[in-house]
């Protein structure tokens, strides 16, 4: 029982961590692009409104894409539904608007000033971009922590794309939902506490690592 619980917690960290890192691959360049361009208010508004899209809607859309009658299977022949990979993809899509929105807000002032600073001190465009990226690390990490917290706590995508298969796609959020449905409230509460603890621990460790890196 304990082994299964530990495995579920580790799987949650793996799935949500991988999803956050995957989402950062496209979200960080998008945020930098938004922060360096002046005409971005419409895009900014659209991205911010997408932060609140219900997770079950994203789960449903991706379910239709990944199911055996969906375009991904038909075109590529890859069966992704009810796998951890599908959950990673779904959570990555889910946290993308949040990551872009928070990273952009953190960067939009500093990027302009840093770019000007680098230019004024005689940096090439590559050197200027490297400076901006280096100085943006704490902001990007903070956004990543927010994305991870959102991903690990969501239920809709994990349930619809993972299916809560014991020992394979069961994560803490789906395990809590299952415990509640079965009337196992004590276990659900313990798992809920573990979920909060994991999020806090990951945030603290990442911040400490960033500080070490920064100094």
């Amino acid at each position: 029982m304990l082994d299964e619980t530990v495995a579920t917690i580790l799987r949650s960290i793996y799935v949500s961590g991988a999803a956050t890192l995957l989402a950062m691959v496209w979200s960080v360049p998008c945020s930098l692009l938004l922060a360096t361009r002046g005409k971005s208010r419409v895009v900014e508004a659209v991205v911010e409104s997408l932060v609140g899209v219900p997770t079950v809607l994203i789960g449903l859309l991706l379910y239709l894409l990944l199911s055996s009658s969906g375009p991904i299977y038909r075109l590529l022949g890859v069966r992704l539904l009810y796998t951890p990979q599908a959950m990673v993809l779904g959570q990555a899509v889910l946290v993308t608007p949040l990551l872009i929105s928070t990273t952009y807000r953190l960067l939009r002032i500093s990027v302009r000033n840093l770019w000007e600073l680098a230019m004024s001190l005689g940096a090439s465009r590559v050197q200027a971009a490297l400076l901006v990226l280096r100085e943006s690390v704490p902001g990007i990490v903070a956004s990543g922590i927010m994305g991870f917290s959102r991903a690990i706590g969501e239920l809709g995508v994990a349930l619809m794309l993972g299916g809560n298969i014991r020992g394979y796609t069961r994560v803490v959020a789906t395990a809590i939902a299952m415990d509640v449905a079965a009337g196992e409230f004590e276990e659900a509460i313990v798992l809920g506490g573990v979920l909060v603890l994991v999020v806090v621990l990951v945030a603290v460790c990442t911040k400490l690592l960033t500080r070490v890196y920064g100094d």
Binding site: G38, K39, R41, N113, L114, E116, L117, A118, M119, S120, L121, G122, A123, S124, R125, Q127, L131, R134, E135, P138, G214, D215
Partner: protein, 223 residues
């Protein structure tokens, strides 16, 4: 001699209808001490950023030693840009120690760390920053941060140095230190251009450029 000549410059920020600079023509030269004055919103900061080759004007030409800067390829632009330095009104410092900031421009130019530190030492001692060299920039006062930004610019020995309200956060002692350092830079041939509301305390100003509503309304040579 380095000369930056602005010819009929118009500048408008993105998403704004108003032009911040409207048909400005003015020349800045190395070895000259120029003060740019004008009320808030007159376009002083924008003028300095266009003249320091950071902002591309909406219309007009920026001539560096007679050549049109914005029609050069990126490699030649970089060479020209390394002759001029701009210092923000609110100092922009990078994460790390004071020394990391002051050597940054030299490191961009490929100078080795040891040589860069030795090169910085004189300027940092002049501005009483050497003792602070290992202090995290987050622990600096506003005045100290301003001096670090100026030191970072001075160690590059630019042909033209633009400073936006450099005295804003400084007490009397630091003001004097800074003005003396700028005077010495001018003696070495650097052109100094200061946008300031404040009295420069008997500094040998060569010229005053007055701006109002994005236009040069007076270009007065004092000597």
């Amino acid at each position: 001699m380095t000369e930056v000549e602005l010819v009929d410059i118009w500048f408008r920020y993105p998403n704004t209808a108003m032009f911040s600079l409207r048909g400005v023509s003015v020349t800045f030269r190395s070895g000259e001490f120029t003060v740019v004055r004008g009320p808030n919103g007159a376009g002083k900061t924008t003028l300095l950023k266009v003249a320091s080759l950071i902002y591309r004007p909406s219309a007009g030409r920026v001539l560096v030693d007679g050549g049109d800067y914005w029609s050069l390829d990126e490699g030649r632009r970089l060479g020209k840009r390394r002759e001029v330095v701009y210092v923000h009104e609110r100092p922009v410092l990078i994460r790390g120690r004071v020394l990391d900031n002051v050597v940054y421009g030299l490191r961009l130019r490929g100078v080795g760390e040891g040589v860069a530190i030795e090169t910085c030492r004189e300027v940092m001692e002049e501005l009483q920053l050497w003792e602070l060299r290992n202090v995290d920039v987050r622990k600096l006062s506003a005045g100290q941060a301003q001096l670090v930004a100026v030191a970072r610019a001075l160690v590059l020995e630019p042909r033209l140095l633009y400073l936006d309200e450099p005295l804003a956060h400084l007490d009397e002692e630091r003001r004097l230190l800074l003005l003396q350092a700028l005077e010495r830079a001018r003696e070495r041939g650097t052109g100094v251009v200061i946008a300031s509301h404040q009295d420069l305390g008997g500094l040998g100003v060569d010229r005053v450029v007055m701006l109002s509503e994005g236009k040069v309304v007076r270009n007065l040579y004092l000597r």
